[in-house]
């Protein structure tokens, strides 16, 4: 039997260690350096900046003033509210739609599976900008708008989708529901393919119904994928920006101002980089809290 012993770090041994494993550390060094330069350093700088009034030629330390200003700002709370509504409305529904589509595709033959996988993955390849422009045409507020024409066929009056507080956020949610399922479907299909057929055969012998097989076999074994989609979905929706920036610019009357858009506005329209950094850290903190809670709530019975 062969065993691998770690090389001893004696003076002659360290040379040998470097010769044998140096390349591995070199390869690790590249991403570590990139992480340090492009992630850790900017994050640390932004954290310091959140306690400063940022000025290019010399910032001023102002303690917690940015955080205090943020807490007292109505628009900040509106943006949190909108972000939470957007997240709650999109993530669970998206997972459900993704799951149903994957489940339907899984029943198909190979060629049909490939066709639907490719078709549904297309929006993931298209840029968010392109998709937003298409949806702007769909939500065109005049009678000639695509969605309004469709409503017209049903005898419903045109709706000013993006121009009214009551419908603007819903319009962005609707766009999200109908757009981004490709990656999730691929993940679910891979997981479904990994469920042992023997479990279904055993269930068939026990005369289990279709629902029982789904509830007792399929769903529990897909939980790791569901948890992954839930966590990444929430992180993504907390950072929703492109559609807001391109379609509503946070309006009307802040109805679609999300926290990510507010951070952009604070930094690049008002040049308040310190305040924007403080807002960013609150967003990061929110994401961490929600992610930890999700892992605590859903991961107890997940086996990897």
């Amino acid at each position: 039997m062969q065993t691998t012993a770690s090389p001893k770090r004696t003076s002659s041994g360290s040379g040998r260690f470097l010769r044998e494993y140096g390349w591995a550390y070199l390869f690790i060094l590249a991403p570590v350096l990139l992480f340090l330069v492009f992630t850790l350093y900017p994050v640390a700088s932004a954290f310091v900046m959140s306690f400063q009034q940022y000025q290019v030629m010399g910032s001023t330390w102002i303690g917690l003033d940015n955080y205090k200003h943020m807490i007292g700002d109505d628009v900040f709370w509106k943006s949190i509210r909108n972000t939470v509504i957007f997240t709650i409305a999109t993530v669970p529904v998206n997972i459900l739609i993704t799951f149903v589509l994957a489940y339907l595709i899984f029943q198909m033959k190979n060629k049909a599976q490939t066709f639907f996988k490719a078709t549904l993955y297309l929006p993931a390849v298209a840029s968010g900008v392109t998709i937003s422009v298409v949806w702007l045409a769909i939500f065109d507020p005049t009678d000639s708008g695509l969605l309004n024409r469709f409503l017209g066929l049903l005898g419903i009056d045109p709706v000013i989708w993006l121009g009214q507080s009551g419908t603007a956020l819903f319009s962005l949610i609707l766009m999200n529901w109908l757009g981004s399922h490709g990656a999730g479907i691929i993940l679910y299909l891979a997981s479904m393919g990994g469920v042992p057929k023997s479990l279904y055969e055993a269930a068939d012998i026990d005369h289990a119904s279709g629902w029982t097989k789904f509830a007792r076999i399929t769903w529990p074994l897909l939980k790791p994928t569901t948890l992954y989609l839930l966590v990444t979905g929430i992180i993504t929706s907390f950072q929703v920006f492109i559609s807001v920036y391109l379609m509503t610019q946070g309006g009307p009357n802040f109805a679609t101002t999300t926290i990510a858009y507010l951070i952009y506005q604070t930094a690049f329209q008002f040049y308040e980089f310190g305040l924007a950094s403080a807002q960013s850290f609150v967003l990061a903190l929110l994401i961490v809290i929600v992610s930890v809670l999700q892992f605590k709530a859903f991961s107890s019975d997940v086996e990897y």
């Binding site: 010769r19 507020p141 000013i160 121009g163 009357n253 690049f268 008002f270």
Partner: protein, 450 residues
Amino acid sequence: MKRKGLLLSMALLMGVTTACGGGGGSTASKPDDKDTVTVWTYPVYGEYETELKDRVAKFQSEHPNITVQTEMLSWAEGPQKFDVALNAGNPPDLYFHSVDGTYVNTKLALDLTPYMTDEIKNDYLPGTLELGQIQGVQYGLPLYQFQWGWGGNKRILDAAGIDWKKIQSEGWTWSEFKQAAAKLTGKTADGAPQYALVTDGSSLDFIEMLSRNNGMPDVLDDSGKFQWNDARILDTMSFIKGLLDEGYMPKETAALDPTKRTDMFYAGQAAIISKAIPYYDVMLATRNKDIDAGTVKGEKIDFVYLPVPHNDNEPAKTTTGGEGYVAFKQKNDKGEQHAKNTFMVMEYLSNAEAGSASNQLALPFVRKSQAEAYAGKELGSETTLAAAKKMAANAELPVTLKLDAALAAKQKQFKEQVVKPNMQALYSGEKTPEQIADDFKSKGSQSFGQ
């Protein structure tokens, strides 16, 4: 050997990664030293990119030690790119824009006073050099003086019997506009609604132009006094609400973006568009030619440049400003000689030949030498040029040229965070003019302490 290879690779990797953080740029200490001046600009008009290249090549042949690096930005992405560069302390030496208090606030805007010779100053026509100043300090050299009016579709105006020539020469009041709007509202030939006026729900220029024509130069006046807190702003809001209620403007205004606004004007669904510059004359003439050639589909439009109507008891005002090159230094200052070289390039790009910008855009010239160079070559129809000249007589300069940078920044924030959402609420019928006026008053009091 293996170890040497490993060390070499590590050194290379370190070199590559650390190179990313290095600051470039050249410095010059004597007039003949080699130097590079960076210029970020926009496609100001159709031929500008080509003309700029020629002008830069000519400059470089006259000053072989100075390299001019130009970058043509897109109107959509350019401002963000510049803002990031500026706030990182590394703006280009020259940037095409209006002067802005926020630039001055960064302490990176270059004070041009030491380089402005009397010859240069005297070449600028009265009132134009000020367009490149903030609180009397010269930071930019205007290339042209823009002016915003409204744009009319001649066919629709004529069909409704609107005497637009009289409006161009004498202006019009809000009451007169409402009478005209009633005649201009109806149906197009294919049965679609035709509105008297179209604006968009996200821009602020509409309310800015109308309030300017109701005695308010801006949210603040040039002494910093809050203006939008009395009956004048309520009147302005009520005027707009009236236009919406009467159906003179689309009920979908809140959701219209600037592109849709233009599309509706082009499609003949709106007789008047709420923001136009004299250049529309040249632009629409080109579009008409393209329609004739079959490369563009649509109805040909003859452009009528119109002043913005004013409240019956207030004087007419034309929204104007200047755009041109603004000079910057960097956080790691490149020295006095570099600043001198930057100004030399700036002056070259704003000289008599550069009057092509005003000429192409059918705008009044800013320099005597430009007016002389392009005398008799003016583009744009006579009527539009005459209307523009008439409107220039009522020019209202931006208050931001006089305000201190901090107050100008507060005004900008007030417009984005208070005015814009309230305008959208007015367009969508979610707030009344009275509620909006109250909101302006209370939020203005918080923002400006008045």
